[in-house]
Amino acid sequence: MRRNLKRIVYGAFLVLILLLPLLSRNEYNLFVTDTAFLNIILVSGLVFLTGFAGQISLGQVGFSAIGAYTSALVTMRLGMPIPIGIVAGVAVSVIVGLFVAIPSFKLKTFFLSLVTIAFGEIIHLLLVNLTALTGGSQGLFNIPPMKLGDTPFTNTLYYYLFLVIVALVILLMYRLKYSHIGREMFAVNDDDVAAEACAINSRKTKTFAFGLSAGLAGLSGALTAHMVGFLTPDPFTLSNSVNFVAMAVVGGLRELGGGVVGGFVLTWLPELLKLKIQGFENYYLMVDSVIVLLVVVLLPSGLGAILFKGLSRLWGEKQGAVTLHNSKSKEGE
């Protein structure tokens, strides 16, 4: 295996993303990239839930909303510092996620998707109607931004913060994937009856997956709340849940980097479409959905799958294992 080539490529990539904000000083581009990072966090959780554990969820924005509003309220109404708010947001999302796991014990795909859609819609309904708590359709304003001393974070600072968080999220997923927990996920995904026959508690597995993905969605939401400074129920809709699932599929459901590829590509694609072509605003949603459609139809395993398999071949790595390091294979090259 050409280990050195692999190191060079990943090293160059690392240098690039570390220097990116200094190379391109465009504030808007930075903001979009910051948003992309937040989406990557959520979509990584979705890849874990849907791609690894095989549980469909068309209601992830519900968890995102819970994280966002919890953190906002904890910092605004209870005067807690932001890190506490974020931890609270993640904690509440995880707990709710554990409950949403319950329908998945008996329901599969289509029927499960309907229940998750219902969950998302119910959260949205609560956001709009529990006005005393959530500010209703007006939402919450003046959410404390993250500060360095007395100055609020710039887009650049958010960039580096989110980069670190994304890196930690990917590291976590890496460790989980290449462990018996990852194996249990994929087993339950392929055949939950056979998995049970191998002494795997499929309910525990599904619950773990839902909890983890809910937590990541909540984290994403909480960070958004403080970065943007205000919250309304508007973005927490079914169509955005669908967009996130599209990111997961386009990125690569069974890929560790599926969240990264999908989150990045599908956050930037609509922006590029909007910017590049004049008067395109009316048509960009059309083109965007067609592009996603084409990727899903022609490359259902995702762009990430093509990318990482290509890279694997580039540095001569053996393939075939999902939860084991391919270097373990003794078959040689």
Binding site: L107, F111, I117, V242, A246, S289, L293, V296, V297, L299
Partner: protein, 297 residues
């Protein structure tokens, strides 16, 4: 006054509910044929309504031509759906999840395409089912004539469907394939043809449903959007995803419950009601309201 409201709501609920049932049939036919859910099922309704509107109200083509053209196009769309979406996904190794994402994206595409070309403002549907001002008098109560004419068309359609599925060779082949593909093909049935037929039948029925819903929902994006699609799914689930009559009955139930909750509780929660029904039925009675047997037994 209360009586007139009550009667209006009942008849209106039955009428629009029966059309929800038609939307549900599109879901059921495809599920029985390929064991997949088409999340863009409702788009066929919107497309057909807009096609008819374009031909009849904008291009001023004769009624019959407009109708036939719309239905023909939506039928061909069903075929395209199979060969441009379903087969390629299968071929490239995608399963239920990828099909769900693809059809959801397709639904988004149709909504944005229609919005781009027709704008987001609802258009009034040409009065082919009776003038908006014509009423039927039952005692002292006035019921819009449209409720009756739409319901009548649905009834005719259901009878036609029944004859097709139970009394013709093709219908029997369709049902045999739905029950068990392998056995059907061993018996000499051209499963390839019946699958295409199922696709086309699904989009056509939903398309006609769209044209029938347009008087109530207008020629608008609402015809292809989430809430109404949910009503189609709910109807299908109440029919156990297998029984056409159960689906229609389920749709009528939803139509009635909708109207009565708007009357007695609040119209805000009208759309949520069908959702609640759907979730309750899924969790409680996944075989449909009367325990229609499912394929897996």
């Amino acid at each position: 006054m209360v009586l007139s409201n009550l009667l209006q709501n009942i008849i209106g609920g039955v009428s629009v509910g029966a059309t929800y049932g038609l939307i549900g049939l599109g879901v059921v036919f495809l599920w029985q044929s390929i064991e997949r859910i088409n999340f863009a099922n409702i788009s066929s309704a919107m497309i057909a309504a807009y096609l008819f509107y374009t031909f009849y109200a904008q291009l001023h083509l004769p009624f019959f031509i407009s109708l036939v053209a719309s239905i023909a196009i939506i039928a061909v769309y069903g075929l395209l759906l199979r060969y441009l979406l379903f087969e390629p996904i299968n071929h490239h190794g995608g399963g239920e999840l990828e099909f769900v994402v693809a059809t959801v994206m397709l639904s988004t595409f149709w909504l944005s395409a229609i919005k781009a070309f027709y704008g987001g403002v609802p258009r009034p549907f040409p009065p082919v089912f009776g003038e908006a001002t014509s009423f039927v008098r039952i005692g002292s109560v006035s019921i819009p004539f449209v409720y009756f004419s739409v319901f009548f068309v649905v009834l005719v359609l259901i009878c036609a469907l029944y004859l097709l599925l139970w009394k013709t060779m093709i219908g029997k082949m369709l049902r045999a394939t739905a029950q068990n593909k392998e056995t059907a093909s061993l018996m000499g049935i051209n499963v390839n043809m019946t699958t295409s037929l199922a696709f086309m039948l699904a989009t056509t029925i939903v398309g006609i449903g769209g044209i029938l819903l347009a008087p109530t929902y207008f020629v608008s994006l609402d015809l292809g959007a989430g809430p109404i699609g949910v009503k189609g799914f709910a109807s299908a689930i109440m029919g156990g995803m297998i029984n056409p009559f159960g689906t229609i009955v389920g749709g009528i139930t939803i139509g009635l419950v909708e109207n009565f909750s708007a009357l007695f509780i609040s119209s805000v929660y009208k759309d949520v009601i069908s959702f609640v029904i759907l979730v309750v039925v899924i969790i409680w009675k996944p075989r449909g309201i009367f325990n229609w047997t499912t394929k897996e037994d």
